[in-house]
Symmetry: C2
């Protein structure tokens, strides 16, 4: 490596490249950008969360100069508690609201050794060999930033999650001036958010949902419950504003919603009229048409607040006839089924449900194609790397760049763990390093791998049969005992179980005291497996135990 | 009941009302319309298919006069083999292509006792007290019909799956004349397809995908693989047409695709130029730009043809650089994740992938709001019952009817198993009957219930721990043996397992030969469960066995 090499590596994310974490490396100095978590995919059985595999960083512990967090959403901050525990002493830089959300998240976590720096959205930071110029970009949360990273190898612009919103809820528009300034200086590479690269046109402003919210508040005779993500601070402000117009009190449901609102209000990121906020319990004593509630659970998760309200399992609120429920969030892929199910349940309860596409009660926080093109045209980078998206989105984003006239060999579509080195102004793809993800299950991080997931898959399909074999006094085998779970309802399947017993007994009739334990178990399991498949076309896991 | 009562009951369907089966009953005569199957939802672990619960029919076996099938898609025909086996001798009526698809499906099934009637799309049938007038409606398959059912209680119009397509692939437009004729006679009730009741506007014609297909065939230098449902006969014809224009040979991949094409060609529903069809194997010897392939697996199912081609597991075709893959189907809710994953895999292989929304290579076969309004306006029914949809869609469809001026109390939104009786021209909702669904798992139908599914859910989350307890000669317990699957990777977890052993041994230290088996097992399981949760925050199923 020459002195002029900047290396960039996308890490983590479930196939979404660089979504959750990225690494910039110049000589022996490393900067980490974001550290988020993802919802597991539906066949990652029992996994609670997925976080980046940062083995690469563990091997270079002493080189890490700082951690930058672009904004306060889970997919960019969710794994920060793991990261700061792993690398105590590494300073962390975040804008005020992002810092506030991290404080809520880290409460109780031991991160006292992490120097936390709250920085303004237009900060210029000097961290080791990196000069980092923050710039505001719009998203569905305030204080969201991108970075211009200058090293001797050149200037790289990192968009962060963004959209070009000309009427953002907090009034803060994108920092076009700094973007233009970068362009004037000459940009080596642009890394840009690909989430909506399949969507033509322009993503509507956050403001676009207000007419639909207005309709709801104007027409509703009963309570209004707005479900959204707890970190969509801008959305919360919009609901506050409309509550003020229509004279409704507002209560928060869901711990993260309550905590975030408290923090954001304290920091001045939510402007809430005196007396508007009430406790959830207090709404029960009020007239329904004077009540609005904001709740978590917009993804239909069965254990979350909205689902519990819909199924009568919430301690305070039970959805009733004449309630109006607004689903003000998009469904994360894989959650559509749950979201649809909860909408149906709410209708069953007699509630009115307002959701996309019936009404525009949510807009995306990510740029669509025309905005993505605008950013490329503004920045005029030498190289373009689409990030934050599955391969299909990166491909679509790359096509846009080529359509704008960028040479195809100056556009890099890479996967997680595939570094790109910029040396003396020329980009080159390096060999792959580990850069995937790690499962979090309960309190375990990384202890569940493919074998366990495969077993869970088999168990989830057809359950298991436990075959307990006992020897008689004479060394011969007594009639086996069969226990099943998830295979068949044992009461009512006596005939089948008896036949299964018979099949095992048959298979073992020639064994005696001299037959090895392994041979007995294998013979029995094989015979049982064959018999069960022939009878039921199912393949439960079979566990023979010789007692 | 008076002599003038017609009863209607929607049965089956996963919350989609009357999607898979409906029953019309007049005096002691029953007509069954459709008998389809559904894909299980993602938390119906291990279930292969879901079919209607037709207990209602079993109790009235002798009253069933006939089975009508509207069209040849799985969600309307998939459970016919079960139905004809259950009710031998009941005649079945289907239009020619539908009959052909049923023949393919029933091949090998014992249904020789079912009188099968092939009827034209404008047939008028007299079945018991029912006069049934078929009328053509457009959908994504030819020979799709709706019904006008006349009894002394009045005329009910049953739309079937439909869209108003003015340029259908087979040239057969909806039978507007018969619809108008019904309206002239006065329609007691309209039952209409709600699938797209959340979609504003008009669903584009099947023809609308042809420009996108043209682009693909014009630009592709390599093979073209079009993935779709095997029963989308119209789509298959469209691909044949474009292959002819661009001089490509066409091969079929997937048994159902091969069988359906053979049958549809024989019956004259596919017009295939002489010499165009080739065997899949033969395409390997041809130039890539002379080859097109139609394949099943458009839902991304890991074991289906497309997924196997993408992962190198298909015996003949391995997706390679320069292949163009067209995903010409929508994702059934719950399958989005799989479909996205396969698109990413195909890109990884270096293929070009063409899919919605990047190109219009699929259109829905169901009417959108403006077409739904048109049907209501054409038919001018006294009562309106939205069917074929989840509750949220029915609600949206009902709103449309009310917007058109129908009195709200003449619009019935019901769930499966909720009958409506039309007596002397007045509709009334009756008490609920069983009308849900039944699970098919392997060769078992209805033997898997909620208990087994719940066990599978627990097993899929955290697996199980098998705790084998043995008594020593003196009646005391030896050190327990622990076997786990799906809980933790046992190699590498020796310390934890040893500690688990210790926890159990501790819990049992005061037991002796006099302690009951149940007490020993309960004590051990409880101690282990507590210990494991404290250590791992996981809740595996624990099975104690006393050997």
């Amino acid at each position: 490596m020459t002195l002029q090499t900047l290396k960039w590596i996308p890490l983590g994310g479930l196939g979404e490249v660089g979504k959750n974490m990225m690494v910039y490396e110049y000589e022996k100095s490393i900067l980490v950008v974001d550290c988020g978590m993802m919802f597991p995919e539906s066949d990652m059985h029992g996994i609670d969360a997925v976080i980046p595999d940062y083995q690469y960083l563990k091997d270079r512990k002493d080189d890490i100069r700082g951690i930058l967090i672009t904004h306060g959403h889970e997919d960019h901050t969710g794994a920060v508690p793991h990261l700061v525990k792993e690398f105590p002493g590494v300073p962390l830089y975040a804008t005020p609201l992002t810092r506030g959300l991290l404080d809520v998240k880290l409460r109780g976590a031991r991160y006292s050794e992490t120097p936390l720096h709250t920085v303004p959205t237009n900060a210029v930071l000097d961290i080791g060999p990196f000069k980092i110029e923050l710039f505001r970009m719009c998203h569905s949360i305030p204080d969201n930033v991108g970075y211009g990273l200058t090293t001797p190898a050149g200037l790289v612009v990192h968009s962060g999650d963004f959209k070009f919103d000309h009427t953002p809820v907090d009034g803060h528009k994108p920092d076009f001036a700094r973007l233009a300034d970068f362009a004037g200086r000459g940009v080596l590479a642009l890394l840009s958010d690909s989430t909506n690269a399949e969507q033509p046109g322009i993503t509507p402003s956050e403001k676009a949902i207000e007419p639909a919210l207005e309709n709801v508040f104007r027409d509703a005779d009963g309570r209004i419950i707005v479900a959204t993500f707890a970190s969509l601070i801008s959305r919360i402000q919009q609901v506050i504003n409309i509550c003020e117009i229509y004279g409704r009190k507002l209560a928060m449901a869901g711990t993260s919603m309550v905590d975030n609102v408290k923090m954001a209000q304290k920091l001045g990121y939510l402007s809430i009229p005196e007396g508007m906020l009430v406790r959830l319990e207090d709404t029960l004593k009020m007239k329904p048409n004077e009540v609005a509630i904001m709740a978590t659970g917009s993804q239909g998760e069965p254990s979350a607040v909205l689902a519990r309200m819909a199924t009568g399992k919430h301690p305070v609120i039970n959805v009733q006839k004449d309630d109006t429920i607004v689903i003000s969030a998009h469904s994360i892929p894989g959650n559509e089924e749950y979201v649809h199910r909860i909408i149906n349940r709410l209708f069953q309860k007699g509630a009115n449900v307002v959701y996309s596409p019936l009404a525009r009660v949510h807009v995306s926080g990510h740029a669509s194609q025309e905005e993505q093109k605008l950013l490329i045209s503004l920045i005029r980078p030498k190289y373009f790397i689409p990030v934050h998206g599955e391969l299909r989105m990166l491909k679509a984003h790359a096509s846009l760049a080529v359509d704008l006239g960028m040479p195809p060999d100056h556009v890099f579509v890479v996967e997680n763990g595939m570094p790109i080195a910029f040396t003396d102004g020329v980009a080159q793809q390096l060999e792959r390093t580990p850069g995937g993800y790690v499962f979090v299950d309960g309190s375990g991080v990384g202890d569940i791998g493919p074998t366990v997931i495969r077993d869970r898959e088999v168990l989830s399909r057809d359950g298991f049969i436990l075959l307990v074999l006992r020897r008689n006094g004479d060394g011969h085998l007594a009639e086996p005992e069969i226990i099943t779970r998830g295979f068949i309802y044992m009461k009512g399947a006596e005939t089948l179980i008896k036949a299964m017993n018979g099949a095992v007994t048959d298979a073992l009739k020639n064994t005696n005291g001299a037959t090895s334990e392994t041979a007995i178990k294998d013979k029995a399991a094989e015979a049982l497996s064959k018999f069960v498949y022939a009878e039921t076309r199912r393949r439960p896991m079979i566990i023979p135990v010789l007692a």
